[in-house]
């Protein structure tokens, strides 16, 4: 259970964005991910939450080396992935897998389930025997709750939830150690969403996987994460254990996100106070100076407009990037003052 497997240090991904034509041409820098650091233990699940544009998907791709970071390092079992050449990085992918949001788009419509799940096997072990592949694929299908006799069917013959199970089987067929799940349940209906969350939780225990689970909604993440990281405009706002984050968030943005989740209970829903958030998320092309959240933060003071808060460790071991973290008590359910 113990032991760091992944260390992300000061990771940044900046994109160049071109605007205008000829004489008016301008180039802006979009800081999709800006100075993100965190660690992940073996067998642990880290939830990453943030609204659209917060950089969570870019971060996921940068961790796996699918996008080249502009700055910073990703250490996998102590080895810097950025220093590896193409071929060495490809070999590492046996340990590092990803599951995408839209299962139908992630599966080749012209391949059978057998071919889809077996493809990673053929890629990494070209000389593997056909019978072995068949057996392994059948085993994977059973593991993720599919019927092995549906081996020769095509993705369009399955529902969204079943397609996500196929994608999970493909990601797990090589016995990876880390799986990055990029909004794996956002495209699914609630009843199916619960099936997939339970499946991932179950598989993680069985296979001692480390998971990075990305979502835009704190309620989904709560049921699967050991720790949760909250992102806003490419930066980390908070990294806390699941237990403390939902009880007493450290960052005002986390608190707003928690309050924004609608409660499926008519009496409670009507009593819920509003989030305290005003305005919209600023453009990532032109982020505010100081704390990126200060323009929408109900607790912002002068210092927040001038000085970027560093991500720092609190007494209880949680991390936060807020100047006022010590003085604010954002306990959920407590009336705000």
């Amino acid at each position: 259970m113990s032991g760091r497997v992944l260390r992300v240090q000061d990771l940044s991904v900046h994109f160049k964005v071109h605007e205008g034509l000829l004489l008016n041409a301008k180039t802006h820098t979009l800081k999709a991910v800006d100075g993100v650091s965190f660690e992940l233990n073996a067998g642990e699940t880290l939830g990453i939450v943030g609204e659209s544009g917060s950089g969570k998907s870019t971060l996921a791709r940068a961790i796996l080396g699918l996008i080249k970071p502009s700055r910073g390092r990703v250490l996998w079992l102590g080895e810097d992935l950025g220093k590896l050449d193409e071929e060495a990085l490809r070999k590492k992918r046996e340990d590092l897998q990803i599951i995408f949001q839209d299962p139908l788009a992630a599966l080749d419509p012209r391949m059978t389930v057998l071919d889809i799940i077996a493809e990673p096997l053929w890629t990494f072990y070209p000389r593997i025997a056909r019978v072995q592949v068949d057996e392994r694929v059948r085993g994977m299908m059973k593991l993720v709750g599919l019927l092995p006799n549906q081996l020769n069917r095509y993705p369009h013959e399955f529902s969204g939830g079943q397609c996500q199970r196929i994608a999970i089987a493909r990601a797990l067929v090589l016995n990876p150690k880390l799986v990055v799940c990029d909004e794996p349940v956002s495209a699914l209906d609630v009843s199916i969403q619960a099936q997939i969350i339970n499946l991932l939780k179950d598989l993680q225990k069985k296979l001692n996987l480390s998971l990075v689970f990305i979502a835009h909604d704190l309620s989904v993440v709560k049921h699967i994460s050991d720790r949760v990281m909250v992102m806003y405009l490419g930066r980390v706002m908070e990294i806390s254990t699941q237990k403390s984050l939902y009880k007493r968030p450290l960052h005002p943005y986390t608190s707003a996100l928690i309050k924004a989740v609608p409660v499926p209970d008519p009496r409670l829903a009507r009593a819920v106070s509003d989030t305290g958030l005003t305005g919209d998320m600023p453009s990532p092309l032109d982020p505010p100076a100081g704390c990126v959240f200060h323009g929408r933060c109900p607790y912002a003071v002068k210092r927040c407009e001038l000085e970027v808060p560093a991500l720092r460790r609190m007494e209880n071991g949680d991390w936060v990037a807020c100047h006022r973290a010590e003085e604010l008590d954002l306990t959920i359910g407590k009336p705000s003052t």
Binding site: E51, S52, S159, G160, G161, Q162, D189, V190, S191, I192, Q193, A194, Q195, I197, N198, K201, H216, D217, L218, S219, V220, K222, H223, S225, Q242, Y246, A256, L257, I258, K259, A260, V261, P262, V263, P264, D265, P266, L268, A269, R270, V272, D274, T275, L277, G279, D280, M281
Partner: protein
Amino acid sequence: MSLLEVKDLDVDFETHDGEVHAVTKLNFSIDAGDALAIVGESGSGKTQSMMAVMNLLAENGKASGKALFKGEDLMQMNVADLNKRRGKEIAMIFQDSMTSLNPYLKIEKQMIEVVMHHQGLSKSEARAHAMEMLRAVRIPDPERRIRQYPHEYSGGMRQRIMVAMGLLCQPDLLIADEPTTALDVTVQAQISQLMTELRAKSNTAIILITHDLGVVAGLCDRVLVMYAGQAVECGTVEQIFYQPKHPYTKGLLKSVPRLDQPGDTGLEAIPGNPPNLLSLPEGCRFRERCPKAHDACREAPPMQLDEQGHAWRCFLDQVDD
């Protein structure tokens, strides 16, 4: 008299694979000023039933039944008569604001067109009215914003524009099809709040189509739960959330991940998948996924109704299990 009463609505689609039964014998009604939620998963028929009422079905779709709006049947009406009501007395907000706004036209043009047509206002009067609506949905700097194109707005703002457009003519009925689904939670909270406020102000009845039970709890008075094209349960929000009677409704409520419950326990998922609408099973359509299914469920269960007006389509009648 109800504002809208839908009777025995059937919607079928002709496809290459055969006939898809999207909606089967749907009955419901909504009173003036009320808020009704239609809840169900993808393919349950919630959107298509409303498309049929608005006469907006795709070409291969056909609908039968009645949709009485203020006593007149919308489904028998010719397009000219229908157009006098659509946008004026009944408005609809669609899920994806980017595809329902015209990318080539400025927001101003798209907004004032409706008012000029229905209320016969002059261009400047219409613009003033549109601006007022933009202020009501809290678009900052409306004088400048109204001259912009849809792509210059953020997703949340576009959806607020959609709400503003829906309410321009102060309709008696607003049909909102997943108005917050594509939005981030914080923006979603803003839109829900906005709709509650506007409803209180203008006494507009709302039909909210959604799969998010959290939004329903905060916004609506009554709930209609659909499964595989049929209504399976209907009642007040309190009845549906606190005393659900249909096993599907119960399962749906349990499978929602909630912040106010400990996160260590697993979620209770409904096993299996919804049935194929091309070949619906005999008897109860939820039978194959139902924990309470028994032999009687091979027959189609009737809609039961108790004295409190709570209706459910199941042979069983137990609140607790």
